[in-house]
């Protein structure tokens, strides 16, 4: 093999453009993800079931929420849950691949860390897009969620892009518990956060103190923000603060755990 190309020729070989980033690899990562039945069930099937179970409460259909009805409100919440699960799982995969030694293997290829992160983000975003689309599609087909057409697009995009921030949570949990069952742990953590943050039952239905506590949980801020285009009214900077603080906690936690086991890689 080597004699086919002389040493001089080999020395003149180029490094790949974009630090080794390639869409072919993104496609392989997505195929890998789709092969993981548990992840697909949790990211796509479960939100659909939640929507069918909670969101279609007949009372919600006739109740209005800002520019739409409560069913639309619930649809956004549940899509957010699915999307956040998708990106958190994507984040956790990064830490698990590190524990598996795959990241080390990649370090003897031209792939740059930035290109690797970009590949992982695109993969997560693809799954998140699947989660949002699935819930919105069911919402549209059942013909119960109602809001102006542009809000379907705007809220969908907000949920999709906003969910990316939760890849940091997955990264942190993955470093903390680098096991291949991490998706179950993430789904449990997110389920609790989703209930506490008012994704399944609106916080306005919570009793007084519980409502206050709910505002301190990680999904609260993002949940309120993605509903804002629908609900309108007074913008509350506390939502942004909640999101920023929790994002800070996750990033700090991930960096701390990453430093902790650097010797291994």
């Amino acid at each position: 093999m080597t004699p086919q190309s002389s040493l001089a020729e080999a020395l003149g070989r180029p490094a790949p453009p974009l630090g080794g980033f390639s869409l072919a690899v993104v496609r392989l990562e997505i195929r890998r993800l789709m092969r993981n039945r548990r992840t697909m069930v949790l990211a796509i099937a479960m939100p659909i079931i939640f929507f069918l179970a909670f969101g279609r409460n007949s009372a919600y259909v006739h109740q209005s929420a800002g520019r739409g009805n409560v069913t639309a409100f619930e649809m956004i919440s549940i899509a957010l849950f699915g999307a956040v699960f998708a990106t958190a799982t994507g984040g956790a995969m990064v830490s698990i691949e590190r524990a598996l030694g795959w990241s080390r293997q990649l370090r003897v290829t031209p792939l740059s860390p930035m290109a690797y992160i970009a590949i992982k983000m695109l993969t997560s975003l693809t799954l998140a897009a699947g989660a949002v689309s699935a819930v919105y599609l069911i919402g549209a087909v059942t013909n119960q969620a109602s809001m102006p057409t542009y809000l379907w697009v705007v809220t969908g995009l907000c949920v999709w892009i906003g969910s990316l921030l939760f890849s940091a949570l997955g990264l942190f949990i993955g470093y903390l518990l680098p096991s291949e069952n991490v998706t179950q742990i993430i789904s449990l953590v997110l389920m609790l956060c989703a209930f506490a943050g008012g994704l399944f039952i609106p916080i306005s239905h919570f009793p007084g103190t519980d409502a206050t506590l709910a505002k301190l949980t990680p999904l609260y801020g993002l949940n309120e923000l993605v509903h804002y285009p629908l609900v309108g009214g007074q913008f509350d900077w506390a939502w942004v603060l909640n999101l920023a603080l929790w994002l800070g906690v996750f990033v700090f936690g991930a960096v701390w755990q990453f430093r902790h086991d650097t010797a291994r890689v």
């Binding site: 093999m1 080597t2 004699p3 086919q4 190309s5 040493l7 080999a10 020395l11 070989r13 180029p14 490094a15 790949p16 453009p17 080794g20 390639s22 072919a24 690899v25 392989l28 195929r31 890998r32 092969r35 993981n36 691949e97 598996l100 030694g101 795959w102 080390r104 293997q105 990649l106 370090r107 003897v108 290829t109 031209p110 792939l111 010797a263």
Partner: protein, 322 residues
């Protein structure tokens, strides 16, 4: 026999010809209080098959990691084809077969190769690489369902993707059964025959003996011997000359160069020496000795002798705390 602080470099053809594949100069690597590598100078030419031989914890993996650019030397410098290791990696000039891990169980064998192949600017065709590593038959199997030996051949295939000039293998056959090990080395041997530079770390003496042109014996973070298998064997234990000699003069034999043991059994003499060639020459020219045979001791003896001596040397030059 061997001074601890200056490792003998026996490689006969140590000439400054062509581009050096690897050059390590005064390389040290420290992890906290652990001195993993304590001053390694080493040059490898293109086309050599070199074994890093040494007991566990000798510093083999640390050295390989620095050649691959996975870690930086605490002191000294490393060049691969005259450039920084990371640059050589991005150009696909060097690749490696890692000890364990480093595979995704939920990809198939072929997908793993495709994945790797897409990361390089220039790569060999996927089918060719599968064929060379002998895993065409299992191309569509999930990696998680492959045996240890099959996974190792997959790692080998991944390393072949960029058609590297230099291939590093860190304990490549660890945990493989005898058959897997034999098949694996067959694939490596076929590949080496085509002129690729290969460096492998092992603590199996027979692997170093059978597959390397050159053995670099590492102990406690230093090179304690460097040469062909035969040279390394001779270094530790010298070689033994057996000859027929009537009326042997023991004093005369003992006075010959490098002789450290003489045994006379009737008409047969046994002379143990670090330079048996010189002794043989004198025996033939100055005495009536005939039927000369020269035998070396096993590499295992050399290994034990040198790795034990190496530690003594390290202690005596005061670089080890205690």
């Amino acid at each position: 026999m061997i001074a601890g602080n200056s490792a003998p470099d026996l490689s006969v053809s140590e000439r400054a010809s062509g581009t050096m594949a690897v050059q390590l100069r005064g390389v040290h690597k420290t992890f906290g209080s652990v001195k993993a590598v304590r001053g390694i100078d080493l040059t490898m030419r293109s086309g050599e098959v070199v074994a890093f031989l040494g007991p566990n914890g000798a510093g083999k993996t640390s050295t390989i990691d620095m050649i691959l650019g996975l870690s930086q030397p605490t002191k000294g410098d490393v060049a691969v084809y005259g450039m920084a290791p990371r640059r050589a990696v991005t150009k696909g000039l060097i690749s490696a077969v890692m000890q364990t891990g480093g595979l995704l169980k939920d990809l198939t064998v072929r997908e793993t190769i495709e994945y790797t192949s897409n990361l390089f600017a220039v790569s060999r065709p996927v089918d060719e690489v599968l064929e060379r590593a002998g895993i065409t038959r299992i191309a569509n199997r999930l990696v998680g369902k492959c045996s240890g030996g099959e996974q190792q051949r997959l790692r080998f295939a991944m390393a072949l993707i960029p058609d590297p000039e230099l291939l590093l293998l860190d304990e490549p056959t660890q945990g493989m059964d005898v058959e897997g090990r034999r098949d694996f080395w067959q694939a490596i041997r076929d590949d080496a025959a085509l002129g690729r530079t290969i460096v492998f770390a092992t603590h199996y003496l027979e692997e170093a003996d059978a597959y390397a042109d050159r053995i670099v014996l590492i102990s406690k973070g230093r090179i304690v011997a460097d040469g062909t298998a035969t040279e390394v064997k001779a270094l530790a234990s010298g070689r033994t000359i057996r000859a027929t000699l009537f009326h042997a003069d023991e004093a005369l034999l003992r006075a010959m160069p490098g002789v450290d043991e003489v045994e006379i059994r009737g008409e047969t003499i046994y002379v143990h020496s670090g330079d048996t060639d010189a002794v043989a020459r004198r025996l033939l020219s100055e005495t009536t000795a005939h039927d000369i045979e020269i035998t070396s001791r096993g590499l295992e003896d050399a290994f034990i002798a040198l790795t034990t001596n190496g530690s003594d040397g390290a202690d005596s030059d005061g670089k080890v705390a205690q």
